[in-house]
Subunit: 425 residues, 2 copies
């Protein structure tokens, strides 16, 4: 699978990265996209806005990589050195690009902060392919020289991603001999190490297609990748492997090529024309916030109650305060009521509830990490008691509790058994 | 401010970083902490689990840095190469550390996945200072050889951070001549470029203390750093600069050394013993979720209603459907009712509301990015109409709308004018 001639280094330029003020998400995003088109990233380097150190980093990259992709340092200020140094290291003069200068003029004449140094952005290495920046002012570019391919992208993540997808991928794809296709099975309910054990023999044996498990924040994935002359052939190679793997993982697969379990729930709700509402305690609105971050969520999410106190559970949901006092707010019974009542109040097809202890403080009764998740539908109410780990962080427990809520909905909508939960009507 | 002899390179080892499956937060976290103790990070490098490439990266780091800090690759599997290669590059044998081996035995005898290769983690470079891992199994270490200082940290972010703070900082601090102290003013309501203009002259002139502005996701900060023989002296140097800068930025400073505006609101609520509740539409629970992610939030946040549909605004908050139909759900009047009613329902000191269009679809009336934020308190209700930019992403608009909600609360609790809003009672 390793192509000679496609070893890539991503060189990110910016002192703010070395101070730890900014995380290098550009290197991650570009790496992820490159791996999908069959280009192997071998190194990431970060260097500050210092001409001498940047020059030395470019020389090292030239010595060990075939493709050098820079991010950052294309702006108008004196800190922005990338184009000058790269052009210099490859012996190319910078020349003004007329179209980009005119574009800059259009853009900045409306800006409150117009300064003539903005025009420096239109200076580009002679003979390069110009990448217009659809989200900002600084253009990127690419050129081939001395047997190396150089691609320069802007630093702001949105600009970097947009330019990579729109301009750099088509430019680079012509270098890659063949097409890489990659799909991932997203898995919730069993961990990366269990997936690793399940497929150890295949992973050691298979080369093309290949498979590998990866841990994500609160779930994991199995990625299957193939390379062939055409995308259709690569798809054909992947299909039986995907089917076999999905069959073996069974109910734990929540989606293919999705990013999170709420995205899978969104797709199922689209398919079935269903709606839901949420009553949240320990997740504090996060279950609602995660779903509503998906464009189009309003067709399926009606609303929710964040009932952080016992009083709010009574006022917004009408739960009997005596029940809460008797059973404690972190209980099977209160979780049951939360899902059932938010469903009835909202008129949604599904109501979900979540109450528990995300920590760091406990309630003197339950250990931190104790969470009850619940789901009410036309044909029953299910409640599940979870122990998500008392040494976990508050954020982790909240996130994982939310995944369990979404996984209950997924299982309900696909007719799977609802794990560990009890059907009570 | 640049010390000869403290140039640092952070070398992160792991193929998952090069595939883009994981973001290199270790390099960011370690960089941020190093900058606070006066150690200059010059380079970050990422390399995969490949002995030959790792070896070459170590050689490059030796040639250009005085301190090499590695992250990752200390675990028990055959992919974990960092200790072996570093020891080899510095001509040190690996020897088994008896205390760590016994610690591993205690740890893994309870583990379901015990395998003898776990003991490889107790092999460490001869003569090194061992850093015990309080959050995991793989110990880290540090040594000095050939005029270089080497520190090895585990890859999982929680383990890396904990070990850095507990073991690496004390180890490194003895190398640094003097103490660095740094504070940041967090700013909302004016942008990084305006801050840059406001302090351009000082920033160009000042060396110690120094100041620099940085953009964050939806706000910015001004960082002021000083170096002196003792921390107290550095604090003394920073104090007048902080006072002057805070005075000039005035009402736009929402906190010192805080991470986000909800943290500033949390601190003010702690101080004043106040509570709040939230009625959210376009932010979909995110205002509640952000606050409740703070440990201790339950003392100040009573709850909220996520009223994503008109019906839920009527059912959960009791807003007259005729008003919604007449004025539209994205309106001054509906925002007013949301804040006022959630305050009355919950009995909180402050009620906040937010309704708007986060996009990408519009409502045919307002442009995307139109958001009304509102706040009700004992002495009035305030509503503000915002236009957050129709070309912004859904996530950005939601985040920024939430910042405006929190900033209203901050301004109210500190007696500042509430920007652009109207007091109506």
């Amino acid at each position: 699978m390793i192509d000679k001639g496609f070893d890539t280094e991503i060189l990110s330029v910016g002192t703010e990265l070395l101070l730890g003020h900014v995380t290098n998400t550009d290197a991650r995003d570009v790496s992820e996209m490159l791996s999908k088109i069959g280009i192997n990233v071998r190194y990431h380097t970060v260097v500050g806005d210092n001409p001498e150190r940047l020059r030395r980093c470019v020389e090292i990259a030239k010595s060990r990589a075939d493709i050098i992709i820079t991010t950052g340092g294309l702006g108008p200020t004196c800190d922005d050195l990338t184009k000058q140094i790269l052009a210099e290291c490859f012996g190319l003069p910078l020349v003004e690009n007329q179209a980009e200068r005119e574009g800059l003029y259009d853009y900045i004449k409306y800006s409150r902060n117009f300064t003539p140094n903005n025009y420096a952005q239109a200076l580009l290495p002679e003979g390069c392919t110009v990448f217009h920046n659809s989200c900002g002012t600084a253009p990127g570019c690419a050129f081939e020289k001395d047997g190396k391919t150089v691609v320069m992208l802007p630093g702001p993540p949105k600009e970097c991603q947009a330019m990579f997808v729109r301009s750099a991928i088509p430019y680079l794809q012509k270098l890659s001999g063949g097409q890489i296709v990659s799909h991932s099975l997203r898995i919730f309910g069993i961990g990366e190490s269990a997936v690793d054990q399940l497929f150890r023999e295949e992973m050691d044996r298979m080369v093309n297609p290949s498979m590998a498990p990866y841990a994500k924040e609160c779930d994991c994935l199995l990625q299957i990748t193939a390379k062939a002359d055409t995308a259709a052939e690569a798809e054909e190679m992947i299909r039986p492997v995907m089917e076999e793997a999905a069959g073996r993982l069974g109910e734990f697969v929540y989606g293919v090529d999705v990013e999170c379990v709420e995205e899978a729930v969104f797709a199922l709700m689209e398919k079935n024309g269903m709606t839901f509402a949420a009553a949240e305690s320990c997740t504090g609105g996060e279950v609602a916030a995660r779903f509503t971050d998906i464009p189009g969520a309003s067709a399926h999410f009606l609303g929710g109650a964040v009932t952080y106190t016992n009083e709010m559970k009574a006022k917004l949901l009408g739960i009997d305060p005596a029940l809460i006092a008797e059973k404690s707010p972190v209980s099977y019974e209160v979780a049951y009521e939360m899902a059932d009542r938010i469903r009835k109040i909202s008129g949604a097809d599904i109501g979900v509830g979540v109450t528990g202890l995300a920590g760091p403080d406990g309630d003197g009764i339950h250990e931190v990490g104790t969470v009850f998740v619940s789901m009410a539908a036309a044909d029953g109410v299910w409640v599940r008691e979870l122990h998500l780990g008392e040494h976990r962080t508050r954020s982790f427990i909240r996130r994982l509790a939310g995944n369990h809520v979404y996984d209950m909905m997924r299982r309900y909508m696909t007719g799977l058994r609802i794990l560990g939960a009890e059907k009570t009507i």
